[in-house]
Structure formats: C-alpha cells, structure tokens
Symmetry: C2
Subunit: 310 residues, 2 copies
C-alpha cells in the first residue's frame, strides 16, 4: 500500500527533516503541500489545509509541521476529512486539546500519531533497556542550545503558547518519559521570561520520580559555543549518560564515544512508524511530556529576564 500524503507547514523542520524522510520511504507518495508562505517543488501546493483537502481529495494522510498554536483547527480539518494524521512535537497547544483530538480520531477511525522525534535517537532504546531493572536515585537534564541558530527569527516561539525554551526542552522530557522505569512529576520551578516576551528563554524545574528520587531540568536558550543536550540518570547500579539529544549512550563513562549533530535516523523512523499505524488506523499519543510542561507553567515562579531580540 502506498500512502498518498499531504504535508502542512513547509518551514525549517519540514525542509530539514520531513521532506527527506518522506522521499526516502517507499510507503509514502508526497502529493500535496499546504503552507502560507512556501511551496514544495513538483507537487500541488496550497495556502491552507482546507484548499489542499478540497484540491486533492484522494489524500490518505496528512503530516502536520506547523507551530503548535492554531494546530488544533488543522488537525480537526484533517480528521473531519477522514485523513490519517501525524503531528510534529509538541502535539498541541494544551493537553486537553490533544485529548479531544485523540477522541475525534478514534470516532473517525483514523490514525493519530503524536510524534516525539527525540525518542527515535539511536541511544534511547538501549538506555530504556538498561534502566528497566535499575533503581533510579536521581535524574538530571541539561538542555542548552542557541535559539538564534536553531530557531532563527521564530518570534512565535517566545510568544504566548510558544513553549519558549520548552520547545527543545520537551525533547528531553520525551526521552526521559520513555527510558525511566518510574514516572516523573513536577514539584516546582522557575521560568525566566524576557521582558516584553511571553514564553521562557531559560527554565529550571524540580521534579520527583515515583520512587521519590529527585529530578532536575535545566533549560537554556542562550547557549553559544558548544551546545549540550544531556541526560544523566544515577542508579544504584551505576550512572547512565545520554548525550547529543539521545544519540550517545554511556554507562559509567564507557560506551559509544561518537557524537555531535542530530541523529539523521530520527525522522525516517517516525515515518516508518506512521506507515505501520495507518493500515490499522492505530493511534500513538503519549501526552506525558506535554503534561510535564503544563505542570511546570502551573507551579513555577516567574522571573523577568533581559529583553531578547533575534
């Protein structure tokens, strides 16, 4: 079966990751794109999803890469037209919004796949397997990147509902919620919001594991020079370290030393999973990473940080 696919939102992440991954997967035939300001060479392009759905009625599925704000209407339109849906992370602007979408997809009998690309990084499954029978004593996340490099000019990310530094930080939360043998909960935190902006440019969150062990999240969007996307899990049987956004795993300092850059296998694995889900109209929606961010917003102390311009 070939899945006739439309893509919505042709921005940086679509061009960098989605289009190459789709092109490399024989299960998909990319036949249409909808984007306000961009098009994809060689396929039918539209300004809105409504026009795309009307113009290419025999689409099977839609992959949605727009920012989370306003995405709910796009997903609703796709589901209402009977299309299978894959969504970039974070899956929506709020937890309750995605719960509603999942119900709509179930009622319509279509796939809803809320992707978490960092969960597909090459060290993640092995980390989960190693931790499965361990007693966790602490978790530390340090996610420090340069917003100007990774999100150039993307003002929406610091706007209301833009997630700010939690846009990359939720990748770390997607990994830890996959690999830890215990659930995480949010206890307190601090959000540093630039004067005149709405979403944090840096954040710390204090968490707790189900077994009582502490967790700490440090997020910074102003890291210049070397970037870090690191998770360290201490256990009674040794220390697990995942670096490079889940790509590089080591136990007690031993293990794969390769590093640097994004794991190019993440998006191909997401599309392979989507191709698995579509024939049975399966759903894969794990909202725990988004829940932890919502909880951090709910409980955190807010600090006014220096103004920020790209």
């Amino acid at each position: 079966m070939t899945i006739r696919l439309g893509i919505v939102g042709v921005g940086k992440i679509a061009r960098d990751q989605h289009l190459p991954a789709i092109a490399a997967n024989p299960h998909f035939d990319l036949v249409a794109a909808a984007s306000r300001h961009a098009s994809v060479d060689g396929i039918a392009s539209f300004a809105t999803i409504e026009e795309m759905l009307a113009g290419v009625p025999d689409l099977d599925a839609v992959s949605i890469c727009t920012p989370p704000g306003g995405r709910s209407d796009i997903v609703r339109a796709a589901i209402a037209a009977g299309k299978h849906v894959m969504i970039e992370k974070p899956p929506g602007a709020t937890v309750s919004e995605v719960v509603a979408l999942e119900q709509l997809a179930a009622d319509a009998g279509v796939t809803l796949f809320a992707t978490w690309h960092s969960r597909e990084a090459s060290g993640v499954d092995a980390a989960r397997d190693w931790l499965a029978d361990k007693q966790v004593t602490s978790v530390a996340i340090s996610w420090r990147e340069d917003i100007r490099v990774w999100h150039p000019g993307q003002d929406w990310i610091l706007g209301p509902g833009g997630f700010g530094v939690f846009d990359p930080g939720i990748n770390a939360l997607s990994i830890v919620t996959k690999i830890l043998p215990t659930e995480l909960s949010v206890e307190s935190g601090a959000l540093h919001v630039p004067d005149g902006r709405e979403s944090p440019i840096a954040a710390t969150v204090q968490m707790r594991c189900g077994n009582g062990a502490p967790g700490r999240v440090d997020l910074d969007f102003l890291q210049t020079g070397p970037q870090s996307w690191d998770i360290v899990v201490e256990t009674t049987a040794g220390t697990l370290t995942l670096r490079d956004g889940g790509k590089t795993l080591s136990i007690d300092g031993k293990g794969a030393a390769e590093g640097g850059g994004i794991d190019e296998g993440e998006y191909p694995r997401l599309y392979a999973r989507f191709a698995e889900l579509v024939p049975s109209a399966g759903r894969d929606v794990d909202l725990r990473p988004l829940q932890l961010v919502a909880d951090a917003y709910l409980v955190a102390h807010r600090v006014v940080a220096d103004p920020f311009e790209f």
Copy 2:
C-alpha cells in the same frame, strides 16, 4: 465501622466546613489534628503530620486541608503510614504530582479521595441529568467574588503555584466537567497578574467542547457587592442556568429560585462519600479540572494588572 480521623491544616476552610461536617457524621471519630499555627479544642494537636502519625498511630484516615503547595509531602507521609486520604481541592500543585500520589495510594492499598466540593452542590446532579441527552451549543462560566471576603490575608493564593483566581474558578471547572455530556479543552486565554504577584487575580479562558461548541470562562477576584458563581449552558433544547456555585438550577428561566450563600450540604456529602470509599480502599481522583487550569497557564497570554494588597 468508625473511622478514626486526623485532620491536617486547621485554617478557614477546616473550621468553616470540615469540622462541622465531621462532627455530624457518625462514621468518623476526629481524634487528632496537625497544624502549624492552630489546634482543635478537645483533641490531640500536633505541629506536623509526622508528629501526628507518630503520636496517634492507630489513625485510620487523614483529611488534608492545607494549601496545595507542599501538600504532596503531606499526602506521601499519610500514604506511607497506611492511612486513607481525603484531599481538599485543588488536589495538588500539579497534575503529574497527583498522578504519582494516586499510584502510591494504589500500591499501598489505601483510599485517595480528591474532593471537589462544588460538585456536591444541590443543583449539580439534576443539571447533569438534564444535559445528558442534550446537544450543547455553548458554555459560559462567570465566577466573580471578592478575594478580601473569601480569602482574607491569604497571600499564598497569589504566590507561585497559588492558583490565584483559579482557586475559586476551579470549582466552576469541577462542576462543568461533571455535568457536560462532552469534554472541554483549552484553546487560549489571558491571565491578569498583579504587578509583584505571581498568580492571576482575573482571567479569561476560551475553551471548546468535544463537539466543537465554544466555551468561555470569566474569572474575577475583585468583585465587590453581589458575588456571582454562574454557569450557563446553551443547548438546542433550551438554556440551563446554574447559579450560586451549583446550588440553584433553572431551565429556560424556570426552576428553583432560592439562592445565596454556600450550599451547606456540600461537605457533609463529601464525608459521606469518603466513608463509602474507605472500607474498600477505593480511589476517586478526577484530574480534569486541574488539567484545564494547567492548560490555561500553558497557553494563556499574560497581562500585568495593578498591584494588589489585602
């Protein structure tokens, strides 16, 4: 069976509502209290829950009336000691924290009852029954009260994690999530936070029902004169109005005209429910109202409001 009960947090809500409701219920024998600054005449009083659990080891159950911040440790102590637990609303500082507590209670084989007192108001069950087979076309919540009357001097409520105007507003959300035949999700909002405070003193939230119908929440903590705690649900079969915090129900303007004040039956019904749950170690934890608040914090625009002093 008589349930030997300890109460934690002897503040305004405990004195106004919990102590009279416990005294009137023959299933409960109040034998201990823990509170930093207060005691209850005629029973053993302690400064902390740890001291209470050590001093009165044959307690069966604990009712927790402290503010949500820091409550997680109190609930954990009670569960670890094998006590059944009832919690004032909101059930915790974050959704994930309460999910963790529910798991701990399940593992320990004790009751966890996350109460929503407004759901026990006298018009709520009849509202749910009337709405059960209706098609909702809009929902409007207007919750306007005077913080100086209802929360005199309670600075924590405007602090980080204090919920601000969502402390009363979550009562409305607890009612609508009980009575509506469709789920609610948060789409956008505005939080008005007084300069120098952390939590909102007024808020508006735009919501959507599962069927697509719009919902609107208006919360104000600076309402002097007549207070309003009103929910209006429009349906294709008429308009349901719940006034007085769930006490007074009318359909198309017809129905009970009584009003004013808190329904004195709310807390007695909560303790009756707790007495039902304890013998089978049942759990009753519905986190949807708290989820909607967390989602509002996540997505809302923030507005600096005038400074506020009690």
